[in-house]
């Protein structure tokens, strides 16, 4: 009987053939924490005298959620991470380097590996053909210290996508559509495997966007086979030698198969306060927006910024809209600067902030006022997510976000993109 990607990778890391449903102890290649979860990780392993890193060069501590620090308590939390890095030789990703999931795919994770990270969107790296999953502080602390973790081998949902996107429709619309279809708990405990001709042609940036949001359907991982596109990406990142082909077997067993025709999708928006509360952008024309955020580990990559800049170039955002732009990493920031994108955003009236999580986590840099509405390219719109339980968050693609910033209300970007 054939194996899924999850079964293959977990099997290799636990030294035996495994099947969905089994419990195993597996070796872990890469571990990661961020400034919200890392301090507790370190405190938990200190308590049991295990303050060590089994593989320090593949243990990364990211300061991205509250970076630069807006308060002294968080500055002190950052010190805990810096001290641990010094003591153990683990890698520190400092203020301004970027959001952990983008940094992980840029420089750290390879096909066939297991990554466990103390952040729910760790599933982003699944787009590289790696088994990447989010866990809590203690789980990741033990993985840092011992280089292993326990896992239940997940059943897999095959998400088979065919057809080409219409102009103005993107990977973000596809993943929002899928979550709307199966629900915020539709894939709880399951791995998603994105496949089909649309995925095979898809650039890495869009694959990252899909894998990033697997957790928003409850998924444990968002996996994509590694192929020539993956190999080219790794070469561009100086890791061409780390490429290996990872794919499921043709006779792999899936718990569920979902077919999606990408050509039928339209610009899609998640409405407050759950990601599965999806509507079409064109159905939301009466929703006025106070803030638009373009960035995050979902949609803060250079290709996203190009799409937004193309719509904003030479124009001004609506007088009642604040536009916030946060490149996902320092390298993206530099590239956007070289291409003149930052200038376009600034001239359009946007505010550009430090690479990192930006306002998505509700700590700083764009907290909503009471009854205010934000349209964001991030992955989550829960009540209180952006720092105020009285705020309203809608999620969309960068194109929908940029065009809505010009209009001052949620708007379908096909109006400007389809000529």
């Amino acid at each position: 009987m054939g194996k899924t990607i999850a079964e293959k990778i977990i099997g290799e890391h636990s030294g035996k053939k495994v099947t969905a449903g089994e419990f195993v102890v597996a070796n872990v290649d890469v571990t990661a924490v961020q400034d919200g979860t890392g301090p507790l990780t370190i405190q938990e392993i200190q308590k049991i005298n295990l303050e060590q890193a089994k593989n320090p060069s593949r243990t990364i501590l990211f300061i991205d959620h509250a970076a630069p620090s807006p308060r002294k308590e968080l500055s002190n939390a950052h010190k805990i991470l810096r001290d641990f890095a010094k003591k153990t030789g683990a890698i520190l990703s400092e203020v301004g380097e970027g959001v952990c999931h983008q940094r992980l795919v840029e420089d750290f994770v390879n096909p066939g590996e297991i990554l466990v990270g103390a952040d729910s969107h760790t599933c982003t790296s699944g787009a590289l053909g790696a088994f990447a999953t989010g866990m809590g502080s203690t789980d990741v602390g033990i993985a840092i210290a011992l280089g292993k973790t326990w896992l239940k081998v997940p059943e897999t949902f095959k998400i088979d996508v065919h057809g080409s996107f219409q102009q103005g429709v993107y990977a973000k619309d596809l993943i929002l559509h899928l979550i709307g279809l199966i629900g915020a708990d539709g894939a709880t405990y399951k791995a998603l495997e994105f496949t089909g001709e649309t995925i095979r042609k898809m650039p890495m940036t869009d694959r990252f966007c899909l894998s990033n949001m697997a957790v928003e359907a409850g998924g444990k991982a968002g996996l994509i086979a590694s192929d020539e596109i993956t190999r080219q990406y790794l070469i561009s990142r100086g890791r061409g030698d780390k490429f290996r082909p990872i794919d499921s077997d043709p006779d792999a067993v899936y718990e569920r198969v979902i077919n999606i025709d990408a050509s039928k999708l339209e610009p899609t928006v998640s409405c407050p306060h759950t990601v599965d509360n999806t509507k079409l952008a064109r159905e939301l024309n009466d929703v006025k927006v106070d803030q638009v955020f373009i960035g995050s580990c979902t949609n803060g990559r250079i290709e996203d910024l190009r799409i937004a800049a193309n719509i904003l170039k030479g124009k001004k955002v609506h007088k009642d809209v604040r536009l916030l732009v946060v490149p996902a990493s320092r390298e993206i920031f530099i590239q956007a600067s070289r291409e003149g994108l930052l200038e376009i955003f600034a001239e359009a009236g946007g505010a550009i902030n430090t690479p990192g999580c930006g306002p998505c986590v509700g700590v700083h840099a764009g907290i909503l006022g009471d009854d205010e509405v934000c349209l964001a390219t991030q992955n989550r719109n829960f009540q209180g997510r952006m720092g105020n339980p009285k705020g309203y968050i809608y999620l969309s693609s960068p194109a929908t976000a940029a065009f809505s910033a010009l209009r001052g209300k949620i708007s379908d970007p096909r109006e400007v993109l389809v000529k």
Binding site: L50, I367, F382
Partner: protein, 166 residues
């Protein structure tokens, strides 16, 4: 082990942002203080009104969202006996067991706000004393029972120096 307490009823999709919101990020290194705000964005008065030993009772997908272990930590520190829900989000489920917060997966439709509950862990039965009904709990996987019995994952590793789960 028998646990008794009052039910505090919540709906579906109670996220870790409801339980331990991002705007209180700076309190994550001060869990007793963060626990004073437990579930604040779902019910602003919950922390003041609840008593130690009460149960949080919810619908589907309790604990969805962020991986923050602070969410189960503050429920435990606040004195919540156990969380009863129709289903739990995956990371929250692991985190709660890892830190020794008891979770019970069961049909919570028959439980109303304020009902007096009695949880018999060994039997896997929740007695609703107010309604005079009994609800059966879905058993936890063996791996998780081992972790709970050892007092959480850190204690398990401290005891054996390694994983002794499978």
């Amino acid at each position: 082990m028998i646990k008794q307490g009052k039910a505090w009823k919540f709906g579906d999709d109670i996220s870790t942002d409801h339980i331990a919101p991002g705007r209180l990020f700076h309190l994550r290194t001060n869990l007793p203080e963060l626990a004073k705000h437990v579930l604040e964005d779902a019910d602003p008065e919950f922390a003041q009104k609840m008593s130690v030993g009460d149960f949080v009772v919810a619908g589907n997908n309790f604990g969805l969202g962020s991986s923050r272990e602070h969410a189960p930590q503050v429920l435990k520190i606040a004195g919540v006996n156990a969380v009863l829900a129709k289903s739990f989000a995956r990371i929250f489920f692991r985190n709660a067991i890892n830190i020794g917060l008891l979770l019970v997966e069961c049909n919570t439709d028959m439980i109303n706000q304020g009902d007096e509950l009695e949880l018999d862990l060994a039997a896997g039965i929740i007695k609703n004393k107010t309604q005079a009904t009994k609800i059966k709990a879905t058993p936890l996987p063996d791996v998780m029972i081992k972790i709970l019995n050892d007092g959480g994952l850190a204690k398990h590793i401290e005891k054996y120096g390694d994983f002794q789960l499978v």
